[in-house]
């Protein structure tokens, strides 16, 4: 993806701007396929253990803060909306709006990570962290341990992707301020948008899988 730093100039290997733009977009889609498979490994493990250890998964899931999780879901969906608006602003060449929407997306991403951070902190206080200090109802301890392991692995990898996304958004803001993007050339905005939506979609799956196991019984 380093190619997108080449700016509006046509790189020597391409015949025209359209070819360059299509190549960059296809490249990001292929990369997202890779990402799907990477998260896929985690989801596979989750499915296996959720079936094997359902009681422990449900019990441990109830220890997560569903309110904060729901707020975070709303925050991320809103950030997808602002990102889509950013792409739209880029397409129509509205630079001020583009800067605003990019900053709004970054702000929402930051809010998400902050809420996630407070959740992590409270899990540490409750000893709901993999390691020797893990505390849980002895009957379901082993099963809950696996759930919490997956909780941290999955949300941790997702949060890492959010951090990378924030970096990319920051780089877009700099590019916008330096007037690199026009209605004719805004490929970087589009492909970072694709990435951001992907990270959102991962969370849309993570939220019910981790927070909403057997909630209807209580």
């Amino acid at each position: 993806m380093s190619e997108i730093t080449t700016g509006s100039a046509l790189a020597h290997q391409f015949d025209d701007a359209q070819q360059q733009q299509q190549a960059a977009t296809l490249g990001m889609w292929v990369f997202l396929c890779t990402e799907v498979m990477m998260f896929g490994g985690l989801f596979t493990g989750y499915v296996v253990y959720r079936n094997a250890y359902f009681a422990g998964f449900a019990a441990a899931s109830h220890r997560l803060d569903v309110t904060l999780g729901a707020i975070n879901t709303a925050v991320l969906i809103t950030s997808s909306f602002t990102m889509a608006m950013a792409v739209h602003s880029a397409q129509t060449g509205k630079r001020t709006a583009l800067t605003g929407f990019l900053l709004a997306t970054m702000l929402l991403g930051g809010v998400f990570l902050s809420i996630k951070g407070t959740e992590y902190a409270s899990k540490f206080h409750e000893h709901l962290v993999p390691g020797p200090d893990f505390e849980f109802d002895p009957l379901l301890r082993r099963q809950a341990y696996v759930f919490i392991s997956f909780y941290f692995a999955m949300t941790g990898l997702h949060a890492l992707h959010m951090v990378v996304g924030l970096g990319l958004l920051g780089w877009l803001v700099v590019g916008t301020v330096r007037k690199r993007f026009t209605a004719a050339y805004h490929t970087p905005v589009e492909i970072v948008g694709l990435y951001w939506h992907f990270v959102d979609i991962v969370w849309i799956f993570l939220f019910p899988l981790l927070y909403l196991i057997e909630r209807h019984h209580r």
């Binding site: 190549a23 490249g27 990477m38 596979t44 493990g45 392991s149 941290f152 692995a153």
Partner: protein
């Protein structure tokens, strides 16, 4: 040797090197380390991959020396465990997987489709750096004590009990995986978006089809290995519970996830080789490859089926017997596209105008050895036989017939075939044929006895063995030393030829691919004139005049 069937254009004398080409356009270390030219990056991959090949070969040599006698004390058993682990890790992740795609694929794919470069040249350079950094991690791990888990890193041994450099090695492989992913991404986008006018999918060289299929495995398989290794690392460092039974995890899940990548990885190693063979067979039989659409489609079929057979590594692991039966059946299905390729190459040779230069000798080696490796693969896909020979030298012999007899033969074939294009100079044909012969003999002497050893029950991964196995082990070790000599000869004459070889001219083989329509070595932008492709593989048999002329040269 004078028998290269070259057709010099009338009125010109011996071919000359072009005045400016990608190798002399710029000088100095910086001009290489910061290049974005796919051809230079391919050469850099060639250098590093050769170093890793030498390293992995050294580990193998030490193992064969240890096994010369039943109770050798050349190395301790613990050291032997590290040797076979490091041999597997370097050969698979740092040599076989990048060898053909990153060296030949990198060099040739843009030229074969008539492009100036890959779609993302800087990403291509980044892939090389990622590969080197991953390699440095692994070399550090080897130098500071090694790792003894086997290249498969089975849990819970790797995640809890092993006291060796597991994390460092795993990090190295994780990093290198991204080099594969980004190379695959680059190839896919390049093939989709950078083809010259007239280069339709139906005219795409089979080498490119094979690399397209390989790239699909790169981008869909490698990330699964990456996340699996991350989980092993997290379990080892932070004690998260995924694979360790003591923490509630399941070691079988690791095996499933690991083989979900690592079986397709076998096809990452062999598919590019099949692409090379398709090109070389067509050129040296002077015929269009028989059944082009089927050979192209069989590459994709192997890539797809390859994702559905991982369970055949786990027949004795305790997985469900019904799963075993399904995986057994699916594994046998892989034989169909593989056989399509072998039969179509053979049909191409039939009534072809066949000549026997070094690349073609390696090709013949490939076809025969791959067939043996493939058929013994069917033995192993059969549930009952697999239980009998599981974890014996039969398995070792089987996959070395595919990896060494197949993939490395193809790599040598391709390296010789395109060497004149890469360097602009001819290698010494006589030496090359001699080396091909030595490698073929050494290879068979090394690995054929291992089939018998395995069938008789000698298990893999042991530093000692019962005395009755000694004769076959001595044969195998003798073969390995011949094989080692066979690999050293090309190293010497190929380097020699870079300076002293005769200038090759644009097309020393009278081959038909686009890459042969430009100078050797090519200019940085590959082609001087814009291209329009009208026909693929327009080979015709040699005429009597061609043969007469070749004789007089």
């Amino acid at each position: 040797m004078s028998s290269t069937l070259t057709a010099p254009s009338p009125g010109t004398s011996a071919p000359q090197m072009p005045r400016v080409h990608y190798l002399n356009v710029d000088y100095g270390v910086k001009s290489w380390l910061f290049t974005t030219d796919h051809k230079r990056i391919a050469i850099m991959y060639l250098v590093v991959a050769t170093l890793f090949f030498a390293l992995g070969g050294t580990f193998a040599g030490l193992m064969r020396l240890q096994l010369l006698t039943p109770h050798s004390h050349l190395v301790q058993a613990e050291t032997y465990n590290k040797l076979f682990t490091m041999h597997g890790v370097t050969m698979i992740f740092f040599f076989l997987i990048p060898s053909i795609p990153a060296v030949l694929g990198n060099f040739l794919i843009p030229m074969m489709i008539g492009a100036r470069d890959l779609a993302f040249p800087r990403l291509n350079l980044a892939s090389w750096y990622i590969y080197v950094i991953g390699g440095l991690f692994t070399i550090t791990a080897a130098a500071t004590g090694g790792v003894d888990t086997g290249w498969t890193f089975y849990t819970p041994y790797s995640s809890i009990y092993a006291n060796t450099n597991v994390v460092l090695t795993v990090v190295g492989i994780f990093i290198t995986g991204f080099s594969s992913i980004l190379t695959g991404l680059n190839f896919i986008v390049t093939v989709h978006k950078m083809r010259a006018p007239g280069m339709t999918w139906g005219r795409l060289p089979l080498f490119v089809w094979a690399h397209y299929a390989t790239s699909l495995i790169f981008i869909l398989g490698t990330p699964v290995l990456a996340i699996t290794l991350v989980l092993v690392g997290l379990e080892r460092v932070f004690r998260i519970g995924v694979f360790d039974p003591a923490l509630g995890g399941d070691p079988l899940l690791f095996q499933h996830l690991f083989w979900f990548y690592s079986h397709p990885a076998v096809y990452i190693m062999i598919l590019p080789g099949m692409g090379v063979i398709s090109e070389v067979v067509a050129c040296f039989a002077r015929k269009r490859v028989y059944g082009y659409p089927f050979v192209a489609a069989s590459s994709l079929a192997i890539a797809v089926l390859g994702f559905l057979v991982w369970g055949h590594h786990m027949f004795v692991s305790g997985q469900s017997m019904y799963a075993g039966m399904v995986f057994s059946l699916l594994s046998m299905l892989v034989a169909i596209p593989s056989a399509i390729k072998v039969f179509n190459w053979t049909a191409t040779l039939y009534k072809g105008s066949v000549s026997f230069q070094a690349p073609m000798l390696y090709c013949f080696g490939f076809i025969g050895l791959f067939t043996i490796g493939g058929l013994t693969g069917l033995f192993l896909a059969t549930l009952g036989i697999d239980v009998h020979v599981h974890d014996t030298y039969f398995v070792i012999a089987h996959f070395h017939y595919i990896m060494v007899g197949g993939a490395i033969m193809a790599y040598m074939s391709g390296l010789h075939f395109w060497w004149p294009k890469m360097t602009g100079r001819l290698y010494p044909e006589g030496w090359a044929r001699l080396a091909a012969l030595i490698i073929f003999i050494g290879f068979n002497l090394t690995f054929f006895p291992q089939f018998i050893l395995g069938y008789l029950g000698m298990p893999r991964r042991y530093a000692f063995y019962p005395p009755e196995f000694q004769v076959l082990n001595v044969l195998s070790t003798a073969g390995a030393s011949i094989l080692g000599v066979g690999y050293l000869i090309p190293l010497v004459y190929l380097i020699w030829s870079m300076r002293y070889g005769k200038p090759a001219g644009p097309n020393p083989w009278s081959a038909k691919g686009l890459e042969w329509q430009t100078t050797s070595p090519p200019p940085t932008d590959n082609f001087i004139e814009p291209l329009v492709v009208e026909e693929a593989y327009a080979y015709a048999p040699y005429t009597p005049e061609d043969r007469k002329r070749a004789k007089h040269e």
